[in-house]
Symmetry: C2
Subunit: 239 residues, 2 copies
C-alpha cells in the first residue's frame, strides 16, 4: 500500500533543505521505498514580506531578531557545516530572502505535472547552493521551473495570475495551523506519525517503519460485491 | 494530511471501470477530497493471453468459462445497465479483450508524469465506451496515451522496451498477492481500510471517512530539533 508523507516546508528555511536530504537518506534505505508517496506542502515562514523584496539574509535576520550580524553569519556557517556532513552544497553567506508565495504556487503547478519534488530541489539549490539571488528575480524563477521540466508558457501564465494555485497554498497553511505546526520542516507519515524539524536520519527511518506497519487492512463493505477475478466477472445476485 | 488510496485494477475488468466512477462520486462529495491522493495499481486478470491477441469478449468469456455466448452477452447488457445508472457510457457488445501488460506499463509511465488517472480514463473509455478495439492495436494505444498528455516518442520507446516499467507492474501484482487480492477492483484507503469490488458509492464514502479519521498524529523523535519558525531558525544546542 502506498504511504503518503506530507512535508510542510518553506524555501526560506535552511533546515527544510537539510531535513529533506536527511529524510531522503532514510527513504533510500527503506525496504518499501517504492510504496512511499511524498507530497510537499506550503508553509510561508514570513508571509508579510512584500513580493519583490530581496536582500542579504544575514542582515535581515540580524535586524528582525535583534542579533548582531556577526551572529547571523555564524549561524549560517553552522548550518553550512551541518549541510556538509550530508554532502549538501550550501553557500554560507550571501543568500537572499524574500516572499515565497509565488514559489509555493509554482510547486503546486509542478505537483499537477508530477514534478513537485524536482521543482523543490531546484528552488532549494537556487537559494542555498547557488550565489545568485533567487528571490525577487522572476526570470530566475522561470528558469528554475523550466529546468524542472515545467512548460515555460504555463509557468509564466501562473506567475501572471496571482490567484493561480493560491488556494492550494492557503489550504496547506490552514491545515498546518490545524495541526498546530509552528515551525518547519514538519513531516507527517501515513497521516499519523509526525516528525518536527530536521531530525537525524534515524528518526525518519523510524517514522517510515511505524507508518508502514500500520496494517493489516480492515475490510469495509460487502465481501461479495461485483468484481472480476481469474474465474470471470461475478455479478452478485440482487439483495 | 494526505490519505493515499490504492486501487488495483485491470483494463479488461468492467467492474473496475464502474468501481472507479462510483469511488469518484464518493470522492466528489468528500469534504477533504483535496487531501486524497489516488494511486492506480496493476492487476492482470489474465496474464497468460499472448500479447497481440484480440477478439470479441463475449466469445472469449463463453469459451473460457463454458457458458453459452448468449449468457455472456446478457452479462454485458447487465453491466451496461449498471453503467447507465451512473451515467457511464458502455458499449454492450463488441468490445475486445487481450493482454493488458503494456497498458499497465504505460500507466506507470503516466504516473511518472502525474497523468495516471487521465490515462486510465482514456484506456477505460477506449475499451468500454468506444466500439473500436483497443487490444492488439499499438497505434490506438499510442493515440490514447498521447491524448492523455504523454509524449509520443516516450510512449513509443516504452512500448519498444518490454522491460520499461515492467518491474513496477510486477511489484503491484506481488503486493496484491501478499494482500490476498483475488479479484479487482480492490481499493485500500490510507493503507488500512480495504474495499473489494465495485461497491455502492456509500461504501467508498464510508472508507474515505474512516481513513481520514485515522488521526490525530503521534509525534516521533525530539520536539526541539532544528527548525525554522516565525521567530527564526532554532539550532538546538549539541547534546
Amino acid at each position: 500500500m502506498t504511504v503518503a508523507v506530507d512535508i510542510w516546508t518553506d524555501i526560506n528555511c535552511p533546515f527544510c533543505y537539510l531535513g529533506k536530504r536527511r529524510f531522503e537518506l532514510a527513504l533510500a534505505e527503506f525496504a518499501h521505498r517504492d510504496e512511499i508517496t511524498v507530497v510537499h506542502r506550503s508553509f510561508e515562514l514570513d508571509p508579510t514580506i512584500p513580493a519583490g523584496t530581496s536582500g542579504t539574509v544575514e542582515e535581515h535576520i540580524a535586524h528582525r531578531y535583534g542579533i548582531p550580524v556577526e551572529q547571523a553569519q555564524a549561524n549560517e556557517r553552522g548550518i553550512a557545516a551541518q549541510a556538509a556532513e550530508i554532502d549538501l552544497p550550501y553557500q554560507a553567506g550571501g543568500r537572499d530572502y524574500g516572499n515565497s508565495f509565488d514559489m509555493h504556487r509554482l510547486l503546486h503547478l509542478a505537483a499537477a505535472h508530477g514534478k513537485q519534488d524536482v521543482m523543490l530541489d531546484g528552488l532549494y539549490a537556487g537559494n542555498f547552493a547557488d550565489p545568485t539571488p533567487v528571490f525577487g528575480d522572476r526570470e530566475r524563477l522561470v528558469a528554475i521551473a523550466v529546468s524542472a521540466g515545467l512548460d515555460e508558457s504555463e509557468v509564466r501564465s501562473t506567475l501572471d495570475d496571482p490567484e493561480a494555485y493560491a488556494d492550494d497554498v492557503r489550504r496547506d497553511e490552514q491545515q498546518a495551523r490545524e495541526l498546530g505546526v509552528t515551525g518547519v520542516p514538519f513531516f507527517v507519515f501515513g497521516g499519523k506519525y509526525a516528525v518536527s524539524g530536521a531530525q537525524p536520519t534515524e528518526t525518519f527511518a523510524r517514522a517510515l517503519q511505524l507508518a508502514w506497519e500500520e496494517r493489516p487492512v480492515t475490510i469495509v463493505g460487502d465481501q461479495d460485491a461485483a468484481a472480476c477475478g481469474p474465474d470471470g466477472c461475478a455479478v452478485p445476485s440482487p439483495s
